[in-house]
């Protein structure tokens, strides 16, 4: 399947990937201003930016083939879509037990405790955009969307 890969040599740590991720998961998927000014609570970013000058890079769920989070989920909310390979959390069934956080080796799941507790993670913008918003929105080409066996650009 196609995944998002970080190219840390191009990342400036600007955080725009997070802005675009938040926007895509708000009710105003194409409007940053409305997403920020009219959405309460604002979605959490599903991409993490790690930074320790001069190195920085963005990381999201790796959509593991043998996904530990799916096997460990106590409710069955976390599932891998058999058609697309995307690992998705059904937030309506998630109870916020954080077992997925306990087992995700990449630390790619966040706690959303602001409303109904739910695990928040990258969904590859499934059903929102063709190309994940973080990739499309990165001004520096520091995120790449490609197949596993395709060569780096």
């Amino acid at each position: 399947m196609k995944k998002v890969y970080a190219r840390e040599e191009y990342c400036t740590g600007c955080g725009l990937c997070q802005v675009h991720c938040i926007t895509a998961h708000s009710p105003y998927k194409d409007n940053i201003v409305k997403a920020y000014k009219k959405t309460f609570p604002r979605p959490l970013p599903r991409v993490i930016v790690e930074e320790q000058r001069p190195v920085s890079f963005a990381l999201q769920c790796r959509h593991c083939e043998d996904a530990p989070c799916v096997k460990a989920c106590i409710t069955g909310a976390m599932q891998r879509d058999p058609a697309t390979g995307v690992v998705n959390n059904d937030e309506s069934r998630c109870v916020g037990c954080w077992t997925c956080i306990l087992v995700c080796p990449h630390g790619a799941v966040a706690r959303d405790e602001r409303g109904k507790k739910a695990a928040s993670k990258c969904d590859m913008c499934s059903g929102i955009h063709e190309v994940p918003a973080c990739v499309a929105g990165c001004p520096n080409g520091a995120l790449e969307y490609r197949g596993e066996r395709e060569k780096e650009a």
Binding site: D66, P68, T75, R93, T99, C100, V103, H106
Partner: protein, 419 residues
């Protein structure tokens, strides 16, 4: 191929999904003592507290059995195995033939011989029917006594307290959750629970249950008496090996299996809380009674039942639990004199993080309140990575990939999920 799975919980569902990866057409019969569609056992405390409704408890969506071509027989316990005739005999007398059988009967509550346990309003806390019965018995501001401050007793205490009950927990050890937490961590959780009105009696136990027809109180080992309207026994869970008791299937504490989850008897497998699998951290065979382990073992069993060659790479203890919104994550060994320990405690913030090492390998951790990205540590335990060069960083609450040695980090991140 005729498959029979006894049990309908995490291990059983793992097996169904494992079988169906390899064999789309073989007949699968799932036999369950409980009548319900497969549900998440850990959610029974959420159900009792009113946090989830039954339709959000299903471990797989309604339609799962039809979709997977399963014959589901619910509410009919299996009573015996005929290993020669390759049949499972149900309590009602029906017989289910099999080529491949999975015993996934899980655990059952351990109930010690306490005088007076036959009275009304005494419960265990293990299945949906238990909490439905507790729900019925609850009446206004009930006073509840819970025996055991382990995971189940503590979850029961939280749920009952959310419903307005007065709760006292009686525990033999000197602290809560003693199997997974050390003294510092135990004190932090106890404090959270006490702030919500839950009372504890440590280093003590119930000697006798008081009351006529219904429970009215308990007498403790030290002679003191406590009053209650409701008593919950949550001392522990033991492997539910009843089904194989009079069969040649080898049983130690749980059913003994090899890495393929085979019992050694032709066509018979076991997985989940009823089975003894490899503990990858302790290097022993033992029952690891947690849901992720049950699912993984079930899936491995299912793959092998369908003719694959899959091996269980071993599990280890791990728990993510919360009480009144206070989060706890632990894995592996909680510490001890044979290990190197690094810890950071902030009692005011109620945060604590301890990592446990042996020969520069991470073998356990305890994380309290701040559990973000904690799975990175679980991954390091699982993979047996040598963390010698960055071990001091593992206690940081913001531990991330940039704290890893560059090479290791690149390898991991670029692996793109081939883990």
């Amino acid at each position: 191929m005729e498959y029979c799975i006894v049990g309908n919980s995490a291990a059983a569902i793992g097996a169904v999904e494992g079988i169906r990866k390899r064999d789309k057409t073989g007949r699968i019969t799932v036999v369950s003592a409980e009548i319900y569609h497969t549900y998440s056992r850990p959610l029974i405390s959420y159900y009792l507290a009113g946090k989830v409704k039954i339709d959000k408890m299903y471990y797989r969506p309604l339609g799962f059995y039809e979709h997977n071509g399963i014959r589901f027989i619910g509410g009919k316990p299996a009573a015996a195995l005929d290993t020669k005739g390759r049949k499972v005999v149900l309590a009602c007398g029906d017989e289910i033939p099999y080529d491949r059988l999975l015993v996934a009967t899980g655990g059952k509550p351990f109930v010690p011989a306490i005088d007076g346990l036959d009275k009304k309003n005494i419960f265990t806390f293990h299945k949906l029917d238990d909490v439905k019965a507790i729900e019925k018995a609850l009446d206004g501001r009930a006073r509840a006594i819970i025996i055991g401050a382990g995971l189940i007793g503590m979850k029961a205490a939280e749920a009952l307290s959310c419903l307005g009950a007065e709760v006292i927990v009686v525990e033999l050890a000197n602290r809560v959750l003693s199997s997974i937490l050390d003294e510092q961590a135990g004190a932090l959780v106890r404090d959270v629970m006490e702030n919500h009105g839950i009372r504890f009696v440590f280093e003590n136990t119930v000697k006798r249950v008081l009351g006529e027809e219904r429970v009215t109180g308990v007498e403790l080992a030290d002679g003191n008496r406590l009053e209650c309207d409701l008593l919950i026994v949550a001392i522990g869970v033991i492997p539910n090996t009843d089904l194989v008791k009079n069969s040649p299937v080898p049983v130690n504490r749980g059913i003994v299996v090899n890495k393929k989850m085979e019992t050694g008897l032709p066509g018979i497998y076991a997985a989940g809380d009823v089975a003894e699998g490899d503990d990858a951290v302790l290097g022993v065979r033992r029952v690891i009674p947690i849901l992720p382990n049950a699912y993984r073992q079930g899936e491995i069993a299912g793959l092998n039942m369908a003719g694959d060659e899959a091996a269980f790479s071993g599990g280890f203890a791990m728990n993510a639990i919360g009480f009144f919104g206070y989060s706890i994550a632990t894995a592996g060994v909680p510490g001890g004199p044979d290990y190197e320990e690094l810890a950071v405690l902030d009692p005011d913030e109620r945060t604590y993080r301890k990592i446990v090492l042996k020969n520069n390998r991470l073998v356990g951790f305890i994380a309290m309140k701040d559990i973000n990205r904690i799975g990175m540590l679980t991954g390091l335990i699982q993979e047996g990575t040598n963390v010698g060069s960055f071990k001091e960083k593992l206690v940081k609450t913001d531990f991330g990939y940039l704290d890893w040695p560059c090479e290791l980090r690149r390898e991991r991140v670029l692996a793109g999920g081939g883990l």
